[in-house]
């Protein structure tokens, strides 16, 4: 529940057909204007009711292997164009997230989204763009420094922080915040400091 920022009851999130959060808030506000645009392109048949001919696609998706799912979906494209389009749509959606993150300089998100697409790179047209964005990240020293700082923020605050390390952790986060002003690393460090403070006051 906290992973999606829900803080009270009742709360709801709507997940679109590509697996992204499309709405977050009070369930009473979920109406036709929220849902209608999302239903366009969504599958009408749930995976557990897919025909046998789509079992390879389903198996790959359950394993989280998007590359194998894309390969298998190419074979059922004529018979089940909606399913094949949904599989490619998921990869396209992740690429869009990656491009948006690269534009915003959120290199940690670029890296994690790129990682989730690594199986698909060679078997899907968007793969070239993924490779290009990752190459841009690799060749940009400033981007590398931001990524390293974002990774450090994540490492410093992953799971639990020993009470005896509270002050040291806070200082390290403040150092990152001040060193990387105006970047995603500063944003992450600020948010982590807030979470750290909140965990102490609970």
């Amino acid at each position: 529940m906290r992973a999606v920022g829900a803080r009270g009851f009742p709360s709801a999130v709507v997940v679109d057909a590509q697996g992204n959060i499309a709405y977050s808030g009070h369930p009473a506000s979920i109406n036709a204007s929220v849902l209608k645009p999302l239903l366009k392109g969504a599958l009408k048949t749930p995976m557990y009711e897919w025909p046998k001919s789509c079992s390879k696609v389903a198996k790959a998706l359950r394993k989280g292997n998007l590359g194998d799912a894309i390969k298998a979906s190419a074979k059922i494209e004529e018979e089940h164009p909606d399913i094949a389009a949904a599989v490619v749509g998921m990869a396209d959606g992740r690429l869009a997230t990656m491009e948006k993150a690269a534009k915003a300089g959120d290199w940690l998100k670029v890296q994690s989204t790129g990682e989730s697409l690594k199986d698909a790179v060679k078997v899907w047209p968007g793969g070239e763009k993924v490779t290009a964005i990752l190459a841009e990240l690799k060749g940009d020293k400033e981007a590398q420094a931001i990524l390293k700082a974002q990774e450090k923020v994540l490492k410093l605050t992953a799971g639990e922080v020993k009470a005896s390390r509270y002050d040291k952790t806070k200082k390290e986060l403040e150092k990152i915040r001040d060193k990387h002003k105006g970047t995603a690393a500063e944003r992450d460090a600020r948010a982590a400091i807030e979470r750290l403070k909140a965990s102490r006051s609970r």
Partner: protein, 65 residues
């Protein structure tokens, strides 16, 4: 006397052992849904969240009182 003399030793030990559980950074609108840890599905044949691939899903958090 014994209890009092132990107190200053016992308290720092407790403080050192304590941990602060930090919530993960929350995903917001536009972010991929973090993998949900769901235990049981009812009134559906879905066995995992992956079975809902390509569908629009509403996840509601509520409680009874």
């Amino acid at each position: 006397m014994t209890t009092l003399s132990l107190l200053p030793v016992a308290l720092p030990a407790l403080a050192l052992g304590a941990s602060l559980a930090l919530p993960l950074p929350a995903a917001g609108v536009g972010d991929p849904l973090p993998t949900p840890e769901l235990e049981k599905f009812k009134q559906t044949e879905a066995e995992s969240f992956e079975d809902l691939f390509g569908r629009v899903v509403i996840i509601e958090f509520f409680e009874y009182w």
